[in-house]
């Protein structure tokens, strides 16, 4: 049922009542940059309203996998794929799926905080504006609600209309999170969101993630094993483009099944 993608996300009660254990299904997915194969036959189910962490050494393909979940890799010339990724049962690559409406359902936060050269307010409401929603009262309401849920409202409420570049690094990254969730996506992708931040700002983002988990399905790529352990419900370890091990975080960190996973999480190689 391809029309499912254009429906608004169901906003049921709190908790895991309507949780879908197979919100995202990655089904024998391989990905190529030109001739170079970057992902090998990945299979994983990502459950709804949980935090799923992807760990692994640099260049192992975890960002590539993440960026395929909203088809951002399509922007690169000469890419191709095999297999399929399904969102709520609908293939991302279904010809009836519009990339733009897909991206409205899948928000993304990047490694380097990248607010737009606009005011704080305009950054937050950007996704509404490009969707053609320009009603002032609605935008004001969304801006406040979103900034509150990004734990930024109290810090910026008096300077909403000043440049976003005046904020500190941690604030800018939280602004980017606010921007990503403003249009109420179902899924939030985070590509090493704390890599450019200091420990205190990192802690704030982690707290924020734990709160956002109640509403959004979060997939996070991280280099920080402690972070994966602290925040995530499930963890996938990737190596050389393959998903080596994928399990509940506690299980994975306490008794990893694979030798490579064990060596990696204990810091033996990176």
């Amino acid at each position: 049922m391809p029309s499912a993608l254009s429906e608004p996300p169901s906003s049921t009660a709190d908790g895991h009542v309507a949780a879908n254990p197979r919100m995202i299904e990655v089904d024998h997915f391989s990905f190529f940059y030109g001739e170079k194969k970057a992902l090998f036959d990945i299979c994983m189910d990502i459950p709804e309203r949980e935090i799923t962490a992807l760990i692994g050494p640099s260049g192992c393909g975890k960002s590539t996998l993440l960026r395929n979940l909203n088809r951002l890799n399509d922007l690169i010339d000469g890419v191709s794929h095999e297999g399929d990724i399904r969102l709520d049962g609908t293939s991302l690559y279904d010809p009836a799926v519009e990339v733009i409406s897909l991206r409205k359902r899948v928000g993304m936060v990047f490694q380097k905080y990248n607010p737009f050269p606009k005011s704080i307010y305009e950054n937050v409401v950007f996704s509404l504006r490009v969707a053609g929603r320009n009603k002032r009262s609605e935008l004001d309401e969304v801006a406040e609600r979103t900034l509150r849920s990004a734990a930024l409202w109290d810090e910026v409420k008096d300077r909403l209309h000043t440049s976003a570049y005046g904020l500190s690094g941690g604030q800018q990254q939280r602004l980017c999170i606010a921007r990503a969730i403003a249009n109420r996506p179902q899924i939030l992708l985070m590509d090493e969101p704390c890599a450019a931040l200091d420990p205190i700002a990192t802690l704030k983002i982690e707290e924020l993630m734990l709160q956002l988990k109640r509403e959004f399905t979060i997939v996070i790529v991280t280099h920080n094993m402690q972070q994966a352990r602290r925040c995530s419900d499930r963890t996938g370890f990737m190596y050389m483009g393959k998903l080596v091990e994928y399990a509940e975080t506690m299980e994975m960190f306490q008794k990893p099944k694979d030798k490579q996973t064990e060596r990696y999480i204990s810091g033996k190689f990176s």
Binding site: K112, P117, K118, F126, S127, V130, Y165
Partner: protein
């Protein structure tokens, strides 16, 4: 992983003294600095030459009176300003070196030339008479003389020795200047407007004749007669004013004793340069400068002001920027953002870059052939056929000149815009796309605002390029003397088809096409200075706009 071999304890940490400099690249730093210094020196030299020569034109000079011995030993008295001192090698066998002065004597109506060379050795005596006058005239350039008397229209005569003489003379000159303005209003504006009406009536009349509409013909003839009457009254008024201009006469005596007369109406200003204090001279300097900026040219452009040229340059450059900016930006957006990067796009890009190397005169030829003859000719046939064969758009004009220069400056804008687009961080674009923006939305809302400072840098460069260009303009609409400005108060206010004057062409015309190049030389410098100032002013405006935007969208660095 093995540790690197330990450094011996006695190994020198700093290279030996002689080698240190070359190792650190010190000589190369000096080499680079020398390159910059050389460039700066040349620029500063050029600019200071232009500034000194251009500004000193307006400063009143001292007048010297010389007794010069000619070949036969007779003493001849001349008065004038020293313009240049130079060494001259004699042709005689001993080849002694003489000094000679280039002497500005004025009085071109008497001597035939306003300049002469004076041998420094032949000067028997020199003095600086306080009462000598330098007068600016409508014709024949400046005159340098001793006043004798002022003969007024009512017959009274005021001798130069009387205290009130100079005040009276200046009052009469002011009267004359006011009258000249009046005549100009009547002749240029009112009679010009009548000519316009006559032309329209003539067109209607021609139509009436072909339609054989006798009633309309009679009406038109009556209207024509009315206009003719109106014209005659105005012409009579102008003639009367003109006659008054020659009513008062100034008697004067040249340095060599020749007595002359001059209608006061032909005088523009009189000064006593040798009797003036520094402040008075400064006042004259400001006055001259102001006249130069705001006046219209006289006497084959060698005298008077250059306002029409400043205005023409300004309007043309502005029009060119307005045309080239959207065109260049749109082209660059397609080339960089939408076109599939490959061999074809690369070739297009190289061609655009090479377009900047095409000699500008070729653009002029293209502008003449395409814009003026093809486009302009077609416009004439479709919309202005009733005035043909007189062309309206089918001849050079400010619109065609601006379009031609826009084409010339297009590569600059395209290249700058492309670089500005490339410099927009990838992360920002991806973030916009990840927010659900379409490609065009992200370009329009995020990429373009971020690239705007860089784009404006390109526009600044294009403006500078366009404002300084002369060769193509000579083919597509620039003239030595334009009868009217491209913007004025007669409908439709913007006359894009009109020919115009341009500072760059004015420089060429003064320097190389003028009948008296020595007299025009100071004007060349002053005009050059003005052209530079105009370009600087427009660039400063664009740069401050850019800085304002950069503050607003502080993302890319240019």
């Amino acid at each position: 992983m093995t540790d690197p071999a330990p450094t011996p304890a006695n190994a020198p940490v700093v290279p030996a003294k002689g080698r240190a400099h070359s190792l650190l690249g010190e000589p190369k730093v000096w080499f680079c600095a020398m390159g910059l210094t050389l460039g700066l020196l040349m620029v500063i030299g050029l600019l200071s030459l232009i500034i000194v020569e251009g500004v000193s034109v307006f400063w009143p000079r001292q007048v010297l009176e010389l007794d010069v011995k000619d070949a036969s030993g007779k003493i001849q008295t001349v008065a004038g300003e020293i313009r240049k001192e130079q060494a001259k090698r004699d042709v005689s066998p001993d080849a002694t070196i003489h000094h000679e002065w280039l002497f500005f004597t004025g009085n071109k109506d008497v001597t035939g030339s306003a300049f002469r060379f004076v041998d420094a050795q032949a000067i028997a005596d020199q003095r600086m008479p306080k009462d000598i006058i330098v007068a600016e005239r409508m014709e024949y350039g400046d005159s340098i003389f001793y006043p004798v008397s002022l003969k007024l229209a009512d017959g009274t005569e005021i001798a130069a020795s009387e205290g009130s003489f100079l005040a009276k003379l200046r009052a009469k000159i002011a009267e004359g200047n006011a009258r000249r303005d009046q005549i100009h209003t009547i002749e240029a504006d009112q009679i010009g407007e009548i000519n316009d009406r006559v032309r329209k009536l003539e067109i209607e009349r021609r139509k009436a004749i072909t339609d054989d509409d006798t009633k309309l013909l009679a009406e038109l003839d009556a209207a024509r007669a009315d206009v003719q009457k109106e014209y005659e009254t105005l012409a009579a008024k102008a003639g009367e004013l003109r006659k008054q201009m020659s009513a008062d006469v100034l008697n004067y005596r040249l340095a060599d004793g020749t007595a002359r007369q001059q209608a006061v109406g032909d005088l523009l200003r009189v000064e006593h340069p040798n009797a003036m204090s520094w402040w008075e001279k400064f006042g004259v300097f400001l006055h001259n400068g102001w006249d130069f900026l705001t006046g219209a040219p006289r006497e084959a452009n060698t005298e008077g002001g250059i306002f029409p040229a400043i205005f023409g340059t300004f309007v043309m450059t502005l029009l060119m920027s307005v045309i080239v900016t959207p065109l260049g930006v749109i082209a660059a957006i397609y080339l960089r953002e939408y076109a599939r990067q490959g061999l074809l796009v690369q070739m297009v890009r190289i061609s655009v870059n090479n377009l900047a190397g095409v000699p500008s005169i070729v653009f002029g030829v293209f502008g003449l052939g395409f814009f003026v003859y093809s486009v302009g000719g077609s416009l004439d046939r479709w919309f202005f056929s009733d005035v043909l064969p007189t062309p309206t758009f089918g001849t050079g004009g400010i619109l065609w000149a601006s379009l031609t220069l826009a084409l010339l400056a297009l590569p600059v804008v395209i290249v700058a815009t492309e670089e500005a687009l490339v410099a927009v961080p990838r992360g920002v674009r991806e973030a916009a796309m990840a927010c659900g923006a379409s490609k065009w939305q992200s370009i329009q809302r995020i990429v373009l605002p971020s690239a705007l400072p860089g784009i404006l840098t390109g526009v600044v460069l294009a403006m500078a390029r366009g404002a300084g260009e002369v060769a193509p303009l000579m083919l597509v609409g620039v003239v030595k003397l334009a009868p009217s400005l491209p913007l004025d108060f007669t409908a439709p206010f913007i006359h894009a088809e009109r020919k115009f004057m341009h500072l760059g062409f004015h420089i060429y015309d003064l320097g190389f096409q003028s009948p008296d190049s020595e007299a025009a030389k100071p004007m060349v410098f002053a005009t050059t200075l003005l052209l530079i100032l105009l370009v600087v002013a427009m660039n400063v405006a664009a740069i401050s706009l850019r800085n304002h935007l950069r503050k607003k969208y502080a993302v890319s660095t240019f």
